[in-house]
Symmetry: C2
Subunit: 643 residues, 2 copies
């Protein structure tokens, strides 16, 4: 059998926007982007701003914007480029996300032509730096209840933006502490004495010379665990006045007389339509987390392949990746990273296609596209799973490198610290999984009535999808297997993908159905919160099972597209390891529900060990195929030098 | 029923050296020890050295040394004080551990009167700062094979210390980069052309003015993930000559003519006797990890009790610790922290008592105390479990505090980063668990012959216990239950401690017996390494099961000593949560081995949820009882201030 071609696997992983990945690899050769550790906060912030400027030279900022404002109208390309940045300077990644994804995205998606005309060219080229001021000190996950107000004053044709107290101060806002000139501020719009819910407003915070404007108070969040190249800060507004035009008025507007108009009369639906624009950020964070995970795995596996410790009986020292315990730390995580990669490729394509052309005329109608709603839930779930996977995998890689893994020069501390907040920003993971579960539960609404009437489920995920939608079957294979009422018995091989898919699908379905039954009780309960809360772990389990299933289906679908050969054979084993190690981790539950006998459960554990052994010789190939730029892996630990 | 008295639980937790804990609490009021974040490395190093000096004013350094050199001969008190330091500045903790525990401990335990006379007074009072130079770049876990040499030259009556190449450079050595004047260097002793294995030598590295001495090369390890107040460095020796007297000659000596004498003729046994002195370091690290975990839990639970997010159906906002998912993140970890605390109290007492008086005359005979050997294995296992528990719990606490948890001012980033290396220093956790397993396996040696003849098991744990010893029954309850051939069936209550103890004991026993059977095959195998390696996950599981059992027994024994009352009732629930959440996490294995039916397995999950709900109102009490000094919890997140 011919040997595996790394370049072939790489091209499969690179996917549709592979040329953008190559461009990003090229960029990493530019010394201005070299990895630097140990700078103090001010130096690091200055450097990251310079790098952001350098990115514009590479046209990095243009992809996600319409052609008429200097963009190139290629959203998938934009996200792919962002994903690749995460192999290098993660502060740069996040600052670029703040500037172009969040601030720019809010102007683009919530504003109208006058805002696009006024801001897009400048923000793309970094003549205008901006903030995305949504989170408040007291409200992070529950942003519908944030408390900053923007009250319309018809006498002056202005909105008056006010922070009522410290709890309502805008918190953790990127670009606020140092570089931002304006902020897109999310506030309760009040006009004619009535609140119309959360809307976004453009509010200047510094003048051109960088001086803080009157009525604005800024504070620096100071040192963080990581991402210290990003200038996060807090903002208070003391009756700051902005012209009426500064309302980003795509979905709701105020006339000169103070009358409010909207194309989405339902306030909840309007709010969640606005929040739907956050999906891009979540997909970007998931991709960034995956990139950082890949770098960590490449370092730990590269080290595991050269580091020796303890001797065999014949006196020969053992390469540590030969130890089963070491393989167990790294190889199932590597397999899941592959699964996440394929799911991410699907997400980015889905975002690109459901968003459509950025050059199309702006619609003010709410989006009513089931594919888009499914994408939003899937993005939320994959963001949660990908970022937790990054946290646990980078931690394991650090430990797998011992003392060397603790030194900043070997990058693992930075990768860990910089990505740590990914699990709680752009939506707290636990909240996001509840959002996923709510979306899935809507498929069961016949079982227990309209979810909106069932107050208890407001807790689940009011945050981002409020409307009750039909559950859509997102994955061909999953659906086929469900319809077939799969036989999940002792007989099949553990390595049979149809069996794996059937178990994953059954697990998800069973968790959801039993969850729906439990939650139905809330309708009649004296304390519906108690019923909901008692099932919260069940609900999170169901959401995880769903995402596990999404990942497996994405992986299997990718395998089906490959030509037969050594690469397909290898990736089939990687997929097996993902599937079986996922089931192994949940085998208690599977046994409880009659899906695993004792014998088969033990066989599952043995199969994971066997796959670790089988894949161990190809571990290096599998990380090489990620196509990580050499500059990102230029660390002493891989060069074998002690200094 | 009367309410729980926090002070009573605190006094139980404080244990035998409670007055030392109070002294440490007092010390934390001294502003010189205030928590500071965001200093650059050089400032932090200077500050930590000042703090180390201030510790001597409090007599902190004297407890672990003999009276005749200015000590107070109270080892348990010394470890207890160290443990408390870990609630504050963790760099100070580690630097003090390097200076007094490792450097001072090596002089005390490996040296003889002339070394004590020459160094102890000065090192206690910090007139002499020293390094413990064991680890090399190429050999961390496998220190028996380290490659620095100390060759005796009878012509000059000196040892010549040499670093043969970069791989043998001393690595991660605390006090090396900045403050150390001498190093205790572990090197292969060569005399009369023969190597006598690893011995320790006192080697000066800097003069009194801090200038590096000729033949010594020092390098700074630079920025680390955390602990940047500790000046870790690398050391190379280029034929550095030291007088013969600088050999720490308690167990092996060289005469003027170059002849080697020892009271422990077996080289392996000699080496492991020397390493036995490391047990104190491991116990200290376990205690330090537990302290940092307690601080993190106090922050996250305090925040969880005040932070509100999302509304109940009646519009009231929910305190986040009321959510089951939040309780699941924090309360089982809190319960395990209690279990670890009681096991740690036993460890410290065991160390204190098996060490005996530090004022006693020095024996040069190898220690042949079974209680001490059991203690060494137990310390290794608890160190591994406590430090992994710290890593995962502090991570969970960080996430439970959202964005606030990511800010340095709220301490969680520092707690995480500073303790991260605990899992791999003072013995890599995976290696330590193998050491535990080897110790346990010796009880089964009749089943498969002498372990020493079975080359394969050299991999298990040659690092620290080489001699084959009898397995000793360390815990009364465990032993009693084993002897009773416990009935582990459907019938008992999950909350019955006898049932819990029986399951824990059975699990350990079954894992060990089946492991012994698997390893026996290695004796006849063509590739014994493959047999060993294929069982490595099994072996680690057995070691973990043992330590789980040690923790449960320590907890139950502590409960038995309490008077009946509200405090005992509460702690019984905490113990239940530890026991049942541990079993829940391994319920797949238990089901595989016929110890849990599907029904009972589900009941286990429900019981953990129920316990979370039951304990939630007392969560604050349980962290208050740790007696963490207020200064350690003086963080904005608990004061509710946004800045």
């Amino acid at each position: 059998m011919r040997s595996v071609e790394v370049s072939f696997i790489r091209s499969v992983l690179d996917g549709r926007w592979g040329d953008m990945r190559d461009k990003a690899r090229k960029l990493s050769e530019d010394e201005r982007f070299a990895v630097v550790v140990g700078e103090d906060t001010e130096t690091q912030r200055a450097r990251v701003l310079e790098r952001l400027q350098a990115l514009t030279e590479y046209g990095y900022s243009r992809n996600g914007f319409p052609t008429r404002y200097g963009g190139t109208n290629d959203l998938g390309r934009s996200i792919t480029g962002f994903e690749m940045l995460a192999m290098g300077d993660l502060s740069l990644l996040v600052k670029s996300g703040v500037q172009w994804g969040l601030f720019g995205g809010a102007i683009l998606h919530l504003g109208t032509e006058r805002h696009h005309e006024a801001y897009l060219r400048d923000l793309i080229e970094l003549r205008l730096l901006g903030c995305f001021a949504m989170t408040e000190h007291g409200h992070g996950s529950d942003v519908a209840n944030l408390r900053t107000t923007a009250t319309f004053d018809p006498d002056t044709d202005e909105f008056v933006v006010r922070t009522p107290d410290d709890d309502a101060a805008k918190e953790y806002i990127g670009n606020a502490a140092r570089d931002g000139r304006v902020a897109v501020v999310f506030a309760q719009l009040v006009t004619q004495g009535e609140s119309q819910g959360v809307h976004a407003f453009v509010v200047p915070i510094r003048d051109d010379a960088g001086r803080v404007l009157p009525g604005v108070r800024l504070d620096d969040c100071g040192l963080k665990a990581g991402l210290n190249g990003v200038d996060n800060g807090r903002i208070w507004f003391d009756d700051v006045r902005v012209p009426r035009d500064n309302l980003l008025n795509r979905y709701g507007d105020v006339a000169a007389d103070g009358s409010y108009t909207t194309t989405i009369p339902n306030a909840g639906k309007r709010f969640f339509t606005m929040l739907g624009t956050l999906v891009q950020g979540r997909i970007s964070v998931a991709g960034g987390a995956a990139s950082a995970t890949k770098v960590a795995l490449a370092i730990a596996i590269g080290y595991g392949n050269r580091r020796q410790q303890f001797q065999r009986p014949d006196g020969q020292e053992v390469v540590i990746l030969d130890y089963l315990a070491h393989q167990r730390k790294l190889l199932p995580a590597l397999a899941k990273t592959y699964a996440l990669h394929f799911a991410q490729l699907d997400l980015v394509t889905g975002l690109h296609e459901t968003t459509g052309s950025l050059d199309a005329p702006l619609s003010r109608e709410p989006r009513d596209d089931p594919a888009r709603r499914e994408l939003e839930a899937r993005a939320a779930g994959i963001k949660a799973v990908a970022t937790w996977h990054a946290t646990s995998t980078i931690q394991a890689c650090r430990e797998a490198c011992g003392g060397s893994g603790y030194l900043a020069e070997n990058r693992l501390p930075g990768l860990k610290a910089d990505t740590d907040v990914f699990t709680t920003f752009e939506g707290d993971n636990t909240v996001l999984l509840q959002l996923v579960a709510k979306e899935l539960l809507t498929g069961y609404r016949d079982a227990f009535g309209d979810l909106d009437l069932l107050g208890t489920v407001r807790f689940v995920a009011d945050q981002a999808v409020e409307v009750v939608v039909e559950r859509i079957g997102g994955w061909r294979l999953l659906q086929r297997l469900r319809d077939a009422a799969p036989d999940i018995t002792e007989t099949g091989s553990l390595f049979d993908h149809d069996w794996q898919l059937a178990v994953f699908a059954w697990r998800e379905k069973h968790l959801l159905e039993s969850l729906a039954k439990r939650l139905r009780k809330a309708a009649d309960a004296d304390d519906p919160f108690a019923v909901f809360n008692g099932a919260q772990d069940h609900l999170l389990h169901a959401a995880r099972a769903h995402i596990d299933n999404v990942l497996l289906n994405a992986f299997v679908a990718a395998l089906e597209k490959l030509p037969a050969g050594a690469e397909q054979d290898l990736l089939i084993k990687v997929c097996d390891l993902y599937a079986l190690s996922t089931l192994e981790a949940d085998r208690g539950w599977l046994a409880e529900h009659g899906r695993l006998t004792a014998t088969r459960s033990k066989a599952l554990v043995a199969a994971v060990n066997q796959l670790c052994d089988d894949l161990r010789p190809d571990a290096q190939t599998l990380v090489d195929a990620f196509g990580i730029p050499p500059a990102a892996l230029d660390v002493p630990i891989l060069a074998g030098r002690p200094t």
